[in-house]
Subunit: 580 residues, 2 copies
Amino acid sequence: MYRTHTCGELRSEHIGQAITLAGWVQKTRDLGGMTFVDLRDRYGITQVVFNMDEDSALCEQARKAGREFVLQVTGEVIERSSKNPNMPTGDIEIKATDLVVLNASKTPPFTIENDTDGGEDLRMTYRYLDLRRQEVRDNIMLRHRVGAATRTYLNSQGFLDIETPFLIKSTPEGARDFVVPSRMNEGQFYALPQSPQTFKQLLMVSGFDKYYQITRCFRDEDLRADRQPEFTQIDCEMAFVEQEDILNTFEGLIRHLFQVEKGIDLPKFERMQFDDAMRLYGSDKPDIRFGMPFSELTDLVQGKGFVVFDSVEAIIGINAKGCADYTRKQLDGLTDWVKRPQIGMKGLVYVKCNADGSFKSSVDKFYSQDDLKAWAERFGAQPGDLILVLAGDLHKTRKALGELRLEMGERLGLRDKGTYKCLWVMDFPLLEWDEDTERYHAMHHPFTSPKPEDLDKIDTAPGEVKANAYDMVINGVEVGGGSIRIHDRGLQSRMFDLLGFSKEEAQAQFGFLMGAFEYGAPPHGGIAFGFDRLCSLFGGADSIRDFIAFPKNNSGRDVMLDAPAPVDEAQLKELAIQLR
Amino acid sequence: MYRTHTCGELRSEHIGQAITLAGWVQKTRDLGGMTFVDLRDRYGITQVVFNMDEDSALCEQARKAGREFVLQVTGEVIERSSKNPNMPTGDIEIKATDLVVLNASKTPPFTIENDTDGGEDLRMTYRYLDLRRQEVRDNIMLRHRVGAATRTYLNSQGFLDIETPFLIKSTPEGARDFVVPSRMNEGQFYALPQSPQTFKQLLMVSGFDKYYQITRCFRDEDLRADRQPEFTQIDCEMAFVEQEDILNTFEGLIRHLFQVEKGIDLPKFERMQFDDAMRLYGSDKPDIRFGMPFSELTDLVQGKGFVVFDSVEAIIGINAKGCADYTRKQLDGLTDWVKRPQIGMKGLVYVKCNADGSFKSSVDKFYSQDDLKAWAERFGAQPGDLILVLAGDLHKTRKALGELRLEMGERLGLRDKGTYKCLWVMDFPLLEWDEDTERYHAMHHPFTSPKPEDLDKIDTAPGEVKANAYDMVINGVEVGGGSIRIHDRGLQSRMFDLLGFSKEEAQAQFGFLMGAFEYGAPPHGGIAFGFDRLCSLFGGADSIRDFIAFPKNNSGRDVMLDAPAPVDEAQLKELAIQLR
């Protein structure tokens, strides 16, 4: 060992001890007769002092150690004359008696501090230095703790951690697969798994009963801001269970994680029907840290001569409490906000509920004070409130109003990062109609079970069939989702029909699973959590990237490695492929 | 929940309770008035009894349930009249009052028993059924336990579980990479990692100090009997440590696993120099459950007119204790054994140490009783022992005699599966000369540090330089290996020179790592364990395949999925590749 202690553990009770530390130079201060070096490691920072009067050679040596040099320092723990209460080691310092430079360092390309001067690209190129910054290091350590606590909980519940293969078979359904040419099977390809879905179902057929895995998944999608081509899932499945058992088990997991990581005892999770989530919040992942539900005004407002309202499918609004004092400029700003292409609405109608009980709206020309009073009653609006109304196609208007609601929640400070509201969104539709391809897609995936009571609608009104599917939503973020699966070959086959698979396609792609259903498949279901996302939630961050040790950029590149990269012609030849 | 209890937990103390079980029909016995169904799940087997007199309809229904049907049985726990002490649930049975067939099963293609009638190929095609067999299920559960215990130990020692990427960059050094064409970076490829080696070193540069990961690795090699294209490693690295710290830490891990999994307190591991392992056992992974070390006879036996011995580099033997009574036929058998192409020797010389103190050898024509007595003394052979001698090229003879030693150990019952002898083999050579390419290869990998005391030989006699590298060997199986790494850019660069890299190649492939070494890389080192192999060791099996839930066959195929498989032309086009 190059050290007796870490740079985070020495306290007053160690005063007088001879110790050795090893770490990186965070900074050096040269005060004439004294030189102070802040030595940093994973555990903290300890101040080391070199005295010119006592050992000038040693002090000179210390002065030469630049930022990020790796030093081994031997010395005595002494009491600091000016204590630093902001540092855990702030009561002591090390009076150095020996110094070994374990490795030198060039001047790093950016400062190794939370408030670094390095831009994103530079930090990604030197990711190994970026990882030295405390906030990034804390994220990676948080990820370790959340992973460990997940395993502790699931192990204690009798779950088995079972590894499933990474070199599997490509299935055109769903997102695009990454493929891997096989040298030993010329002209053939493996695919990397988008999830272990079929394997975990097979494990249920095998009788393993409670399975989990914290595992990497791969999707070759065009990357959005916060997507990674490889990401990690907490993947779980249980047999002989009903939906309620799964909800309870995994609510228990998340409650455990909040207890361990945040010291928070969460109350029982709220539950909401998918239909209600869409109707009241315009989203299948509503942020319920605040209310501000939608009210529909269509019946109240049509037929009064306002052609904008008369010509649309839906007129819906929210009540922004206490915002009646918004200025013209603020209201214009909100109107511009909803007109942005990302939101795509044509305009915004407002009603101010004045303190004197009167109303002022942008549509005063069409609606009387009594009309507006009726609106206000629908919202339960009080004097001082501001009603915001959008109109248009139902689906689009809900979505836009959902965004506006979040924006108003943000402006009103109703989305506190330290508050956690957990919600199960349930009873998703089984299928969604795709206008482009003119066929149904599975809303969750093709293995999701319809609700038994809706089975008779599967032929007559497939769009109305609800699924035993559920998402876990925390603070408006979907952290996990799952379903009760189909375990009957006939029903699974019917699902593939509905989704437009020919019998041959279904057999070629999922024959092994349908085969397995013929040999005693138990009822089963499960859930998968986005581990990167869950960690970013615990870390109070919006981006998942800083919770991944070596993330890729938005072009799917690892700029540190400079990967992907061309490969040798000989290698391609062995794989029997060539570039086009 | 479809059950109140599992099929493994009911005991006498549950008698009288109303319970519900769910599981698979292991077997049905129809004894006229009574029908017995053995219901199986992951936890065990419970006998269910149906009485024709009491409920003939229910009993008829039970009789129709074939093997591997999934049943839900409700009933009362009653005392068995004829108890079965071989089953944990053997004191009780369930008197059924209700029965639900949760799913039917076709007759499985092989019997779901340890002693199954299914051949390897059939069982791999129906792997989900093979996994129902108790011995396979036990292996998968063992793997879960060993993994969990590994994490418990490493977490308790302050190690951080940090995930490293799977889509990385191809490096021609070492084994062949699997590559993944990038759609978003046309003409470029990711590679799947053969190990997280460079990433774990970067994590040390980042200051994470103690890292581990139980992670998948990939090698596109021609598969030998017990190799898999994807396999799992317990991958570990530590900073600010010397070799001794690593040996102690991971000896601790393995001791912990033996305690938890086997209830065995292992003594301190033995240690052996690589040179001694080769000299005494002809192997870098000697099985030290038994002795039978080599003795060299070259000085004793040359120059006596026996041309076979006079013309060779090495004459080495072992003493098979108590085997002097081997018959002519047995000795001929051993001679044939060493002549097989896998061993490749030209013949075998033996000396029987007779009970009366005389000697009988296959070379009596050339050696007197006194000569043979001198041989026997060199081996410490006693009357009743059998000396077996091989002669030839040193390297080849050692290897062959090593195999013969293992064979004799096997025949003498000295390799008991319940006995565990753990060994560190240390001080491996840094480099090995490759006759084909006429250059040095890294014996461990290019990042392994030479021993400091041998640094001066690196230019003058590179083949003699020893490395700070070590393997952990248990019962003759290499379960792990590692090294202290280079952390100095200059030395790493020198290593790449030695290994025949041009400066440009080294920079293109490992520039990021050498760059990292310029910004304060700490001394570090680590180890990686073959997790599949470790599990098979704990499971007392020779093959790793049955400790992997979904293994591939010797052609790298998953016969259950039928993968790899051709992919759509459209998919290849998107990836900008085509078949040759």
